[in-house]
Amino acid sequence: MRAALIGAGQIARLHLNCLKTLPGVQIAAVCDLSPAVAESVAERYGIPAWFTDHLAMLREVKPDVVHVTTPPTSHFRLAMDALQAGAHVLVEKPATATLAELEQLVRYAGERQLSITEDYNYVFNHATREIARWVDTGRLGAVVHVEVMMVLNLFGPGGFADPNAGHAALRLAGGALADFLPHLTSLAHRFIGAHRRAHAIWTKRRASILPYDELHAVVEGERGTATLGFSSTAQPDALWLRVFGECAQASTNLWETRLTLERLRDGPKPLQPLLNGLEEGRAVRRAAIGTLMRKFKPGPGAYDGMWHLLGATYDALARSTPLPVPVEQVLAVNRMTEAIKPVEAAP
């Protein structure tokens, strides 16, 4: 399959690192508004063609799959152009600035019998898949509640809060936090299904150009409840996923390799905290070493979910089987995201 990318910035490099390892995938072209960015990325990854005009690229290269890896507010127009050129589309999160735009893309893709999917990389991280397996095999029991908490300092130089160069994501409702919200909702959706209702509190703790720097939401889903959080001011950086089941609780920090399980055990009740504690201690020690060793190894690092997802997506497209993130899931996640987005003006 011939792949092409529109947008050759930071996230595109992560896609390219994976694509160059996938069998049967040829990276045919890359496009960026900056000629130097497009040309340097083409040179670096051995891509035969680069463009600054995405329509010229679509016309001349005729890719089978287009990755839209530009700032989010441009996704809709670029994804639509790619679909109109007859390509399947893999769009980075957030798929579009509004739900209405996404619905329009989905309708059009359906009419043209093309696929459109969104990158939910953390849903496919090793630890998330392992927890999902524990759910599927009954080890966790039925899911009662999910907690997803992202802690990320956005105030560093050159970051989202840099007052000199307004980050493109600041144009989204909710500002920079909206750029991360699909990570939270896609993880929650994986375990509790489509949302029925949601309540969110968007707040601001620090003076900056960000409209909000904290988000906390409660969601009721088809199979359980979830609390979703984003903090720009808590530290250290982490992406916590905790799944509470009727028999056990699983906990992982998706930016490390830490994955622990607290479970009901046979035997005397007073010994349960001890046995769980010893098991957790072993897992945390292993993860501490594993996280360090991962930095010394080539490969996806914390983006193993993206590698898994892209591999499975191309495999499904080649075989014409259902995608790992089907369009119904994209719509359901985006509806949950929409329900959490702020409606009132920023404080």
Partner: protein
């Protein structure tokens, strides 16, 4: 002559503005929107233009009445992509705007990092090979961005017939910038000095700025590429000793021969580290070489072309950097 100076509030920029003023030129300083220029204390004659090369919508007006662009702005921190976006895309935007104006003279601050240190033997000078292709992309984000910044600036100059001078400084040092990447690795109070008797390609910020100001106004610099070092360079051991003395920091220098350290890195990289390019720079052989390789350095071209001699001696530079703490030098 009126110069537009980008990165004017940066470490080199502040000295370049001072040198241009001292040589009788007028200066328009391009600074970011939130830069506090009061703190810098420029005279009123310095015009201020505010903008960010990464995002400003309109840059051409900054060139009104400008005879020469002295382009110093570049990112020195951040991830690879952020540095590229800031340094290279920023330069693209700036030069695209310049093409709409009457200004046709440019002095670019490039860097020693653009050279391919892995293949250079003996003396590094302006004829030494540049890092290109795969060798470039194994280097760090700063080196990649500076190489591309120079590449696109040369293309713009060729396309529009501009008079370009490329200046490539070595390690620029000065007040609060005395600790340099080439000094080795600090581990707590220990300073692992790799190749203690190697020379450092040093240029004190005030010497470096003097050459930038001269090159901006001297027609003999047009079309030239010139390395900026004050001379053959101090030896690492002595320079680090002066730095520790000057700052009053306590530390112990531990010498390690260059070839021992480099071969350990090279062997580890090829075996247990599996050629992983996500590793810290010191564990990647070509980046290790770009920081530490013992080469010889010269400012012959600056001398021959412009008759330039650094105005301040090493002893005077120490005094400017550390005050009077190093009395035996000053």
């Amino acid at each position: 002559m009126k110069a537009l100076v980008t990165g004017a509030n940066g470490f080199l920029g502040q000295s370049v503005v001072a040198a241009l003023l001292a040589q009788g030129h007028s200066v328009r300083a391009f600074v970011r929107p939130t830069t506090d220029v009061q703190k810098i204390g420029w005279p009123d004659s310095v015009e201020i233009v505010r903008g960010d090369l990464r995002s400003a919508r309109e840059l051409a007006s900054a060139f009104a009445g400008v005879d020469v662009l002295v382009h110093l702005a570049a990112a020195v921190t951040g991830g690879d992509e952020a540095q590229f976006a800031s340094t290279v895309t920023g330069t693209e935007r700036l030069l695209t705007a310049m093409a709409e104006t009457a200004c046709r003279r440019i002095v670019l601050a490039s860097s020693f990092s653009v050279y391919d240190w892995s293949v250079i033997r003996g003396t590094l000078d302006e004829r030494s090979p540049l890092a290109t292709g795969a060798a470039l992309y194994r280097r760090d984000g700063y080196a990649i961005a500076k190489a591309w910044q120079e590449r696109i600036t040369r293309r713009f100059a060729a396309q529009h017939g501009w008079d370009l001078t490329v200046l490539r400084p070595g390690y620029i040092w000065g007040r609060d910038h005395g600790y340099l990447g080439g000094l080795g690795q600090r581990v707590g109070r220990l300073h692992i000095v790799v190749g203690p008797f190697s020379h450092l390609p040093l240029t004190h910020v005030d010497n470096c700025a003097d050459l930038f100001a001269r090159a901006a106004s001297d027609p003999r610099a047009v079309g030239q590429t010139i390395n900026v070092v004050d001379g053959p360079g101090e030896r690492i051991w002595g320079y680090l000793g002066d730095h520790l003395k000057g700052t009053g920091e306590r530390g112990t220098r531990v010498p390690v021969p260059y070839f021992v350290a480099f071969n350990i890195v090279r062997l580890a990289f090829a075996t247990i580290l599996k050629r992983n390019e996500k590793l810290p720079g010191l564990l990647i052989p070509c980046r290790f070489e770009a920081r530490m390789k013992p080469l010889r350095f010269t400012n012959h071209r600056a001398q021959e072309l412009l008759g330039w001699h650094p105005p301040y001696s090493y002893a005077e530079c120490l005094r400017r950097t550390y005050g009077s703490q190093l009395t035996e030098h000053g």
